[in-house]
C-alpha cells in the first residue's frame, strides 16, 4: 500500500470520527466495556490459579496417631516419614499442644463444657507434614495408609477441590461473559458501520464513479474501526490497571499470606492480548458490514 493511500485512509477515518462523535463514542465505549470485563475476568482467573498453586505448594497433611502411640512411637514415625520424597518437614504435636490449640484461653469453663481437661486429655499425638509439591502426594498417602500406628489423616483435599471447582467456574463464566460481550461489540460495530455506509452513500457512489476499487472504498472504514478498536483497548487497559491497583490495595490486607500483585511481565502480556482483541473486534465488525459494499456497484444514485 502506498503512503498516499494510507494517509488518505487515516485522514478519512479521523475525519469521519470527528464528524460523527456520538457514533464513535458508542463504538469505543462498547468495545472498551467488553475488553474491560474480559480483562478483569482474565485477571481474576489468573489470581485464582496463583492462589490455588500457593495453597497447594504450602499444603499440609495432618496425621492423627492411635491413642496407644506414645511420644517415642510418634518421634520414630516422624523420622521414618521424613525420608519420603517431597516431605519437607514434620512437626510432632503432643496431646498437650493440641489441647492448647483447641482451647487457647484454657479456662475451667471451657474444659468442663467439653468434658476435656489437661488431666483427662483424650487427644492423640499428631504429626504435621509439610510437603514441597503435589507430585508425590499419592505415594505419601499410600505410605501413611500402610502405617499401623496411624489412626487417620487429613490433607485438605475437599478444600482444594472446592477452590479448583470455583476456579474452573470462574474461568468458564469469564469465557462466557467475554464471548457474549464480544458478540455484542461485533453487533454494535456492524450496525454502526452500516449506518455510516448509508450516511456516506453519496460519497461512496462518487468514489465508484471516479474508479475506486472495493478495497479502496473499504479502506477508510477498516482504518476507522482499527483506530476505534485501539482507542477502546487503550482505555480498557488503563481502567483495568487502575481498578486492579485500587482493589488489590483493599483486598491485600485481608489475605496477607498471598501476594495479589501480578508480575509486570504478566500485565504487559495481558495488555497486548487486550489490544489485539480490541483491534480484532473493530476490524472484524467492520469487515462483516462491508460485505454489503457490493450493493454500491452501480455508480449512479438511482442504482441504490
Amino acid at each position: 500500500m502506498s503512503i498516499s493511500k494510507l494517509s488518505f485512509f487515516i485522514y478519512e477515518a479521523l475525519t469521519n470520527i470527528r464528524r460523527s462523535p456520538v457514533i464513535s463514542f458508542i463504538t469505543i465505549s462498547t468495545i472498551a466495556t467488553a475488553l474491560l470485563l474480559t480483562g478483569a475476568s482474565m485477571l481474576l482467573t489468573m489470581n485464582m490459579e496463583n492462589f490455588l498453586e500457593h495453597l497447594k505448594s504450602d499444603s499440609l497433611i495432618t496425621v492423627y496417631l492411635k491413642q496407644s502411640a506414645g511420644k517415642h512411637e510418634a518421634n520414630a514415625l516422624s523420622l521414618r516419614l521424613k525420608n519420603l520424597e517431597d516431605v519437607e518437614d514434620i512437626k510432632v504435636i503432643t496431646p498437650e499442644q493440641s489441647l492448647a490449640e483447641l482451647f487457647p484461653e484454657g479456662n475451667e469453663h471451657q474444659f468442663s463444657a467439653s468434658e476435656i481437661s489437661p488431666q483427662d486429655n483424650p487427644l492423640p499425638y499428631c504429626l504435621r507434614i509439610i510437603i514441597s509439591s503435589q507430585a508425590q502426594l499419592e505415594s505419601i498417602l499410600t505410605n501413611l495408609a500402610s502405617e499401623p500406628l496411624i489412626d487417620s489423616y487429613t490433607y485438605g483435599k475437599e478444600f482444594f477441590d472446592k477452590i479448583e471447582r470455583l476456579s474452573r467456574l470462574i474461568s468458564f463464566a469469564s469465557i462466557a461473559i467475554a464471548s457474549l460481550l464480544a458478540l455484542a461489540s461485533l453487533f454494535i460495530i456492524y450496525n454502526t458501520i452500516r449506518l455510516t455506509l448509508f450516511m456516506r452513500k453519496e460519497e461512496i457512489l462518487i468514489m465508484k464513479l471516479v474508479g475506486a476499487t472495493n478495497s479502496f472504498v473499504r479502506g477508510p472504514f477498516i482504518t476507522e474501526a482499527f483506530i476505534e478498536g485501539t482507542l477502546a483497548a487503550t482505555l480498557a487497559i488503563f481502567l483495568l490497571f487502575v481498578l486492579y491497583g485500587i482493589s488489590a490495595e483493599k483486598i491485600q490486607p485481608l489475605i496477607p499470606f498471598f501476594n495479589i500483585s501480578m508480575p509486570m511481565q504478566v500485565l504487559v502480556k495481558l495488555a497486548i492480548k487486550m489490544l489485539l482483541m480490541g483491534i480484532m473486534l473493530g476490524v472484524a465488525g467492520s469487515m462483516m458490514s462491508l460485505r454489503d459494499i457490493n450493493k454500491f456497484n452501480k455508480a449512479t444514485l438511482e442504482g441504490v
Binding site: K5, E202, I206, G211, A212, N214, N294, A299
Partner: protein, 227 residues
C-alpha cells in the same frame, strides 16, 4: 475507440430502453446524443461506464469488450473515463480542490502529483481562485465546472456527460460547452447527451438521435432535429 454491436437493453419491467443499437465513435470525436425523454440516452451512457450491462450485444472500448468484463475490472475502466452527470454529485463537506482531488486520491496518485494536477484542472475550468470554497458557496454553473474538473483531472480518454447544462442558464451553458470543446481539442473523445437545441444547432458537431431505443439519425455536423 467505442463500438456498440447490436446492443439491446430490456429492463426487468419489460421496457426496451435500447433496441439493436450499432454505433462506432472514433477517438477524438465530439458527439451529441439527442432524443426525447425516455429515448434511452441515459441508458446508453450508463452502458459505456458499465453502470449497467446490455441484455444482448457487445460494447467495445479501446478494443476491449466491456460487457463481459469482471466486476473487479470496472474501476480500471472508469479511470480512463471522465463522467459528468446532471445532478452535480459533489461532496458538500469538502472544498472545491478536495472534490477535484478525490478523483486522483481514489486511484492512489502520489500526494506530490495531486496538487499540481488539481491546480491544472481548476485552471482549465477557470475556478482556481475558488479552490478553498465549498460547493454550497458556488453557483450551479460553477458546481458543474467543478464536476468537469474532477472528470478531466485524470486526463481521461473519453468524457461522458449526461445533461451537463440541464440546470444552467444559456450563458453558463455556453461557457460549459466551450469548455467541452477545449477538452475535445486536446484529444479527448466527448459524448454529450442533451436536450439543448441551441447549443447542438450552434456547434454543428456529430449528432446521434435516439428514439424509442433505436438510432434514427447519425449525422456529421448535424442539427438537433430527430422527428
Amino acid at each position: 475507440m467505442i463500438s456498440l454491436k447490436d446492443v439491446t437493453k430490456i429492463f426487468p419491467n419489460g421496457v426496451r430502453a435500447l433496441n439493436k443499437v450499432n454505433l462506432d465513435i472514433k477517438a477524438g470525436d465530439f458527439v451529441f446524443l439527442v432524443g426525447p425523454s425516455g429515448a434511452g440516452k441515459s441508458t446508453f451512457l450508463r452502458m459505456l461506464f458499465r453502470d449497467d450491462i446490455p441484455t444482448e450485444g457487445t460494447i467495445y472500448i479501446d478494443g476491449k469488450d466491456i460487457t463481459s468484463m469482471p466486476a473487479s475490472r470496472i474501476p480500471y475502466l472508469r479511470r480512463n473515463l471522465g463522467i459528468v452527470l446532471q445532478d452535480f454529485q459533489l461532496l458538500k463537506t469538502r472544498t472545491v480542490a478536495e472534490n477535484v482531488a478525490f478523483g486522483l486520491r481514489v486511484i492512489g496518485a502520489p500526494n506530490s502529483a495531486i496538487n499540481d494536477r488539481v491546480q491544472e484542472a481548476l485552471e482549465q475550468v477557470g475556478l482556481s481562485h475558488k479552490r478553498r470554497m465549498y460547493p454550497t458557496e458556488l453557483s450551479g454553473g460553477e458546481q458543474q465546472r467543478v464536476c468537469i474538473a474532477r472528470a478531466i483531472v485524470n486526463n481521461p480518454l473519453i468524457l461522458i456527460t449526461d445533461e451537463p447544462t440541464g440546470n444552467l442558464d444559456p450563458m453558463i451553458s455556453n461557457e460549459i460547452m466551450n469548455l467541452f470543446l477545449e477538452i475535445n481539442k486536446r484529444g479527448t473523445t466527448v459524448i454529450i447527451a442533451t436536450h439543448n437545441h441551441n447549443l447542438v444547432n450552434k456547434l454543428r458537431k456529430r449528432v446521434v438521435a435516439l428514439v424509442d431505443g433505436k438510432i434514427i439519425k447519425d449525422e456529421e455536423a448535424g442539427t438537433y432535429a430527430y422527428e
